[in-house]
């Protein structure tokens, strides 16, 4: 805590100077407001150069100012300019922009040439770029503006609700915490559902490498190592035509992140400063100490052989149990954060550079959690000669994450304890010391304050390339790429939080992960004649992964103050030095042809060999093909001006998934199965040399339409995706000594629709743009081998099943239908199991599915589905003069959440505190309620069975982001040497409309197969930030 404070001070000092200057700047500007120069009014008409048709919605801006208008329906405009030196800039989507000096004219008519603007708009695809209008696959692009306006800390959060077909759910609200992202549904059973991430051509490690996660199911978000301010665009490749070029890792889509590169021109220095606070979105209500004690007493009286509890937990005079603590109050806080970004971009004809640096310091809303990050990046490109270009992207990130044990169960979980720790547990003992440990539970405030859970990481992501152009259009490019992550983790539990005298424990892990590789390919792009455009690509790549972990666990440190492992009295675990490797060798090719952008064709093929599979099954082949037809270029559509652009796309292809252990096919002997101090080894994985890829076959059809000079743009896609040969851990008799063998079995289907509509609703002084996207994905398990199906399904973790015809994420359990008001209401004498007791007043009414008056396994049924019916987002941008307002809503509809945390906080079994719902509990015969009687050690399993009572509607609509920005006019800031000055306020996660009763419906304690469970993850926060952005 001390360290933190001093860091804060340092920051304050550093900023005071800056703030003073900025303040002066403000005052100076305010003074200038009154001094208006004389203005001239310019009018004119804008037409299409080819057809002579008037153009509406063309933006007209006085160059170097925020002064701008747009043309009306007849192409007319009117703008006031400051002087005759003014230059007007005319821009419109789909047309080349034009600059005209006003001079002494008062009427300026302009005709715009078609298309260059849009023709030049490129999107990044595998091993290259492609003109957006010539895409035949399905690619969604999230651009710089969306990224700038959110002020989020990592690139994945930005995608949430902004990219159709991409579902992003938070695993943890902790700073730097994990996210799970699914592109077009779950296509794998073995949890390999994460897309491939490629940053500037470097395939990067995207799974958490943290190995000391305490009780959390999730680690950190490795994408948080990328500074969003460095990002130019994020493209998500979704269909097989776009992804097949990445072959064996592309079945779950590919996320291409492109960082900003230098542009020719004078260097531009950009400074961005944001600071703000976050707090919990809502607190949940729990019982106070006396209500809690009564509930515990009731639970004893409700036992089959009622007893009066005579022990300390209900003794309000006992010094350990006389508290009345609001644990949420004690553990949650309003947490400050700030971020400073510096960047310089520029270059000459032969050398371009983009340089950036950032520092952020983010406190979490739970006591003592904090994440600090320093990022630095240099991207350079040099034209060595007409033919040879070389360049490099290099980024370095240093992160320090002071974590707390957040999610999950166990006595180390702080988040669960927020809600379920008895209020009667005293915070302090009479002697003033912390009440560190009580009945199997560590004090969560003590855990946050005194335990260590620190993660420090250093990461370098780099790409070095050389490109040589032999003849026009024929290029050879070679990339050397590297992703190096070094991480150190420390954990320490002081003896003050243990029940055993002098018992403390610590652990340390050092992890290095190296991914490196080379990609070398020829590319050819050339236009023959006027209209025949050819493209070809041929190359190979090699990629290798090395992961090494070294660690020690120790205990009995002589003091809680020396926490390094050299002080440990006993080293309890020294086996953890682990090195694993994996490699991939690939060949790939692509051919494309289009006739004048009207008829488009592309084929791809990739061959991938992976070290993970047996020698005979190493290579997989992944082909794809796509066609496009720009029907708007056909003669019959030329003479109209409603439809500006129209294109149909079709694609089909195959991709793979190799997400199994590095050595699964060879079988494994595990070291570290020690017997006391004697090191042991034992077989852990049964070999299966026949293992091979999961293969996904995907069909996609798309329609792109643009109306009214691109004022309404619509992109729609439908797809069908079938994954076969699923890699699955097939259970085998335990008499073999093994739990399962990994085999290729079964298939899954995903089909869906994606729609993106963007409109320019208002143009002129006041502008209003809207972008709306919505996706629907239907997931279905199509085929599972019969030998796996006991009772027709596979139990999948505690809450889910896998069954043919049902989606992944289907919850299965008993259906709760209320509470018996009286004993005699159980007219059929329904019993708990064949031999168990009869349900009585106060017990839950379970749906007796088979009507046999016995509640048992056979009465379990589908009680929910974690998959949303649809999800998406809507962004509205408003602009007036220098003001802009961005309002972003995000939604998910029809998904259920299995709220394990609600089970925990409505169950007396572990002496948990209860939610205030428990005040409505059944107390006596005749009570009509839906809250059953609490029973200590309940043989009827009222709370503990998997049941519909804990399944809640997880639909929500979120006001996810609001950004209000003011850009000062150039004439005010130019005298200060600035070329841009913005001030803004951003609020994220502002309001959520939902029926969900937990902290936040954007929650996912497990990813993939076990989606939609809330086990008590680190809660989401509401953040409000103000910022300043200026450019020299």
């Amino acid at each position: 805590m001390k360290k933190l404070k001093s860091a804060g001070k340092l920051y304050q000092k550093g900023c005071e100077g800056l703030l003073k200057k900025v303040l002066l700047l403000f005052i100076a500007q305010l003074c200038c407001f009154g001094l208006h120069a004389q203005s001239t009014s310019i009018t004119g008409k804008i037409t299409d150069a080819e057809s002579g048709e008037p153009l509406l919605g063309v933006n007209i801006v006085e160059k170097g100012t925020a002064n701008g208008v747009a043309s009306d329906f007849d192409g007319n405009y009117s703008i006031d300019v400051a002087s005759a030196n003014a230059v007007l800039v005319f821009t419109s989507l789909g047309y080349q922009s034009k600059e005209i000096s006003v001079g002494n004219n008062v009427i300026v008519d302009v005709s715009l040439e078609l298309g260059a603007n849009q023709l030049d708009e490129f999107v990044v695809v595998g091993y290259g770029k492609k003109k957006k209008r010539n895409l035949t696959g399905s690619v969604v692009s999230v651009g710089g503006e969306d990224i700038d306006q959110t002020n989020l800390q990592d690139p994945i959060s930005i995608l949430q609700g902004r990219a159709a077909g991409v579902q992003v759910v938070s695993n943890s609200g902790a700073p730097g915490g994990g996210m799970s992202i699914t592109v077009r549904g779950n296509s794998s059973l073995n949890s390999g559902n994460s897309p491939l991430y490629v940053v500037d051509g470097v395939p990067i490690e995207s799974s958490s490498l943290s190995s000391l996660n305490g009780t959390e199911n999730f680690g950190l978000n490795p994408l948080a190592d990328i500074n969003p301010n460095d990002i130019e665009s994020i493209e998500i490749l979704k269909d097989a035509a776009s992804t097949a070029i990445y072959g064996s890792r592309a079945a779950n889509g590919v996320v291409m992140i492109t960082t900003k590169r230098g542009k020719e021109g004078k260097g531009v220095l950009n400074v961005n400063f944001t600071s703000g606070v976050s707090q919990i979105t809502r607190k949940l209500s729990v019982l106070n100490a006396s209500q809690y004690r009564q509930a515990i007493i009731d639970s004893y009286r409700n036992m089959e052989n009622p007893v009066e509890p005579n022990w300390t937990i209900i003794d309000s005079l006992n010094p350990k149990n006389n508290g009345d603590v609001d644990w949420q109050e004690e553990l949650l806080r309003v947490a400050p954060q700030y971020k400073v970004d510096l960047s310089v971009q520029g270059g000459s004809e032969n050398a371009k550079y983009s340089w950036s640096s950032s520092f952020s310091n983010q406190d979490g809303i739970i006591l003592n959690s904090n994440y600090k990050r320093v990022t630095s990046r240099l991207n350079v490109d040099f034209n060595v000669s007409d033919k040879l270009t070389v360049g490099q992207s290099l980024s370095y990130t240093n992160g320090t994450n002071n974590r707390i044990n957040a999610g999950g169960s166990g006595n180390l979980s702080v988040v669960r304890e927020l809600l379920i720790r008895p209020p009667s547990y005293a915070m302090y003992l009479p002697d003033g010391s912390l009440n560190g440990y009580q009945f199997g539970k560590r004090n969560p405030v003590g855990l946050a304050e005194y335990a260590t859970h620190l993660n420090k990481s250093n990461r370098i992501i780099g790409n070095q390339y050389a490109e040589y152009e032999f003849i026009e259009g024929l290029k050879l490019r070679s990339n050397l790429n590297l992703d190096f992550l070094s991480m150190k983790e420390d954990e320490f539990l002081p003896s003050t939080l243990d029940y055993r005298e002098g018992y403390n424990s610590g652990a340390v892990r050092a992890i290095t992960n190296l991914t490196w590789g080379n990609e070398t390919y020829f590319s050819f792009d050339r236009t023959f004649g006027e209209n025949h455009n050819f493209g070809a690509l041929l190359g190979m790549s090699f990629q290798e992964w090395q992961y090494e972990r070294t660690g020690l666990d120790g205990m009995f440190f002589p003091s809680d103050n020396v926490r390094t492992l050299n002080a440990a009295g006993t080293i309890s675990n020294q086996d953890v030095n682990i090195l694993t490797e994996h490699s991939l060798l690939s060949y790939f090719g692509r051919m494309s042809y289009d006739y004048s952008g009207r008829y488009l064709l592309e084929v791809n093929l990739r061959a991938d060999g992976s070290s993970r599979f047996g020698e005979d099954n190493r290579f997989g082949y992944f082909p794809s093909a796509s066609v496009g037809w720009r029907f708007s270029d056909e003669k019959f559509l030329r003479d109209q001006n409603v439809l500006a652009d129209g294109k149909l796309r079709f694609s089909a292809g195959q991709t793979g998934n190799e997400a199994i252990g590095n050595y699964t096919s060879q079988g494994e002997f595990l070291v570290g199965t020690n017997y006391l101090g004697y090191s042991g080894a034992s077989p852990s994985v049964m070999p299966n040399s026949g293992l091979t890829w999961e293969t996904t076959t995907q069909y996609n059809a798309g329609l792109d339409l643009a109306f009214f000079n691109n004022r309404v743009v619509l992109n729609a896609d439908v797809y069908l995706k079938e994954t076969d040969d699923l890699l699955y851990n097939v259970p085998i008799p335990r008499t073999t000594g093994f739990n399962f063998i990994t085999q290729n079995i079964g298939s899954i289907e995903n089909k869906g629709v994606e729609l993106l509509v963007s409109t320019k609703n208002m143009v002129g002084d006041f502008t209003w743009d809207t972008s709306f996207n919505i996706s629907k994905n239907e997931n279905k398990v199509k085929d599972l081998p019969d030998e796996l199906l006991t009772n027709g399904y596979i139990q999948n973790g505690n809450y889910h099943i896998l069954q043919e015809g049902l989606p992944i994420g289907t919850f299965y359990g008993w259906k709760f239908e209320g509470v018996y008001a009286r004993d005699e209401d159980n007219v059929n004498g329904i019993t708990n199991g064949a031999l168990g007791s009869v349900f009585k007043g106060g017990d839950p009414i379970w749906n007796d599915l088979n009507g046999d008056n016995i509640i048992d396994e056979e009465d379990r049924q589908v009680i929910g589905d974690a998959q949303p019916n649809f999800f998406g987002g809507i962004t509205n941008n408003f602009g007036y003069k220098g003001f802009s307002l961005n309002v972003f809503f995000q939604f998910s509809y029809g998904n259920d959440i299995y709220s394990e945390i609600n089970h925990q906080r409505n169950s007396v079994v572990r002496y948990n505190n209860l939610s205030t719902d428990a005040l409505n509990r059944w107390r006596q015969q005749g009570d009509i309620t839906d809250f059953p009687r609490p029973v200590r050690d309940d043989p009827m399993q009222s709370d503990s069975r998997v049941q519909s009572r804990w399944v809640e509607d997880g639909s929500y609509l979120k006001l996810k982001n609001v950004n209000l920005r003011y850009r000062f006019p150039n004439r005010l800031i130019e005298p200060l040497g600035l070329s841009k000055l913005d001030v803004f306020v951003t609020a994220s996660n502002l309001i959520t409309w939902t029926k969900y009763t937990g902290f936040d419906p954007d929650v996912n304690s497990y990813s993939g197969l076990r989606a939609g469970v809330d086990e008590g993850s680190y809660p989401q926060s509401r953040t409000i930030m103000t910022g300043l952005n200026f450019q020299f």
Partner: protein, 454 residues
């Protein structure tokens, strides 16, 4: 320029083809592929240590569920296994019906038994004693399997390929026990006599193999063989009875001279003793009224075994020391004593009694009684107090070895299970003595049949 162009082209092409397919051969660096593990003598040692690791998990909870849960010394308020066992309402989903850990032990042992010899060029003592330990641990596992489920699948080879038969049916329990005895005889001949220090208690030695053999022979009613095996233990200088002052320490600190084989645990490799017996308000088991009433007067062991100060005692002190008071549902680090000298002495006494050698039987019984501060018994007194000498011996076992996981097997072995447990929970059918096979095992193996009673 042209020259440089060529150089660059050659460079790229060379780079591209410098990769060969060998780079896809990745052998495990830190673990081992299944076939590649057993190479050196330290691998062999590690493979055998790995078996003990599985033994630790197997008995952490189940030594008590299997050996005490269904018998008369304990009582419970806990739903789940404790109550199901006590009320004799066993079902196929209860935890103690799972045999996973036993077979994991067996699998690890099978790997060691197959591969350890291949590490050593000839039959060296080091290799043989390792195989001896592996075979003894396999025997221990099958001995439990037979006593808990009766007929069970007998698997003596490691699984190394999907081509092997996965779905093995049950083998007659006598065939399994024959194998158990064969393994133990091998162990008793090839294991070390002593390792020195704590390892004499933690690892399988010749003495522990004979101890286990005594238990197996008694289970099969082979009394001569049991006496012969027991003598090997009694005459072994490693073992002697501790004084009553140190009696608690047999369990609470472990490594006593009385211990023949105990499973080692520590602060990280923990077991469930505390959860089973010692959480004052909430442990799985507490001493039954019958048990508390069965003590003879002035038995010095009584207040070492449980909290006699309470009217309704809940805490079993035996494994933690007198006065142990803890409300924490945390794991424990105490070793679990599987075989100790007193057990073997009393088994030997039983065998003598069965063979009509009353004097030898009484002498052994009185040795144990003396230590507990009880007067010596002659045959008439024993008959007078307990009906017959066998009952007196069984009673002595029920006190001396209380809660150590022997009582249920003693009742079944001596044919007294129905007589004792019938009045308590209605046990009536011999076919009910075994556990059901867990549902999960049945689901995974179509060739497996549920035990008759279930």
């Amino acid at each position: 320029m042209k020259k440089s162009k060529n150089i660059i082209a050659v460079f790229f092409i060379a780079l591209a083809f410098s990769c060969s397919k060998d780079i896809l051969d990745k052998e495990p660096q830190s673990g081992f592929s299944a076939q590649g593990f057993y190479k050196t003598s330290s691998d062999a040692q590690a493979g055998v240590n790995g078996i003990y690791d599985a033994v630790q998990s197997t008995f952490s909870l189940n030594f008590s569920f299997w050996g005490e849960g269904r018998a008369d010394a304990v009582n419970t308020n806990h739903s789940g296994d404790p109550l199901l066992l006590q009320q004799n309402t066993l079902n196929k989903t209860m935890n103690s019906a799972r045999w996973n850990n036993l077979y994991e032990t067996i699998s690890r042992a099978n790997y060691a038994i197959k591969y350890v010899p291949s590490v050593f060029e000839e039959d060296t003592e080091f290799g043989l004693q390792l195989v001896g330990q592996a075979r003894a641990l396999r025997a221990l596992s099958y001995f439990y399997a037979v006593r808990v489920w009766g007929d069970v699948p007998l698997i003596l080879e490691p699984y190394e390929s999907v081509e092997q038969e996965l779905f093995i049916a049950k083998t007659d329990k006598d065939v399994v026990l024959d194998q158990v005895i064969e393994d133990l005889i091998f162990a008793s001949q090839n294991c070390r006599e002593s390792f020195g220090g704590e390892r004499d208690r933690l690892l399988i030695t010749q003495g522990s193999a004979y101890g286990l053999l005594t238990q197996v022979y008694m289970w099969r009613g082979n009394y001569e063989a049991a006496i012969a095996a027991a003598d090997k233990v009694l005459n072994n200088s490693l073992y002697s009875l501790v004084s009553i002052n140190d009696w608690s320490k047999i369990f609470s600190t472990g490594f006593s001279n009385e211990s023949v084989f105990e499973i080692g645990y520590d602060e990280t490799q923990t077991n469930n003793l505390r959860i089973l017996y010692a959480i004052g308000s909430d442990s799985h088991f507490f001493p039954s009224e019958n048990f508390r009433a069965s003590f003879e007067e002035d038995d010095l062991r009584q207040d070492l075994i449980y909290d006699v100060t309470q009217e309704e005692p809940k805490k079993i002190w035996k494994f933690f020391g007198q006065g142990f008071d803890d409300e924490s549902a945390d794991p424990s680090a105490q070793n679990i004593v599987m075989i100790r000298l007193a057990d073997i002495m009393l088994l030997k006494a039983e065998a003598h009694n069965q063979l009509g050698q009353v004097a030898q039987a009484l002498s052994l019984l009185n040795t144990i009684r003396n230590r507990a501060g009880l007067p010596e018994l002659n045959e008439a007194e024993a008959v007078d107090m307990y009906g017959d000498l066998e009952s007196a011996l069984l009673h002595e076992r029920s006190i001396e070895l209380s809660f150590e996981g022997h009582r249920w097997f003693d009742l079944v072995r001596t044919g007294k299970a129905v007589e004792v447990m019938g009045p308590i929970n209605g046990l009536a059918d011999e076919a009910n003595f075994v556990w059901p096979i867990h549902e999960d095992a049945l689901n995974r193996n179509p060739n497996l049949e549920q035990n008759g009673f279930y």
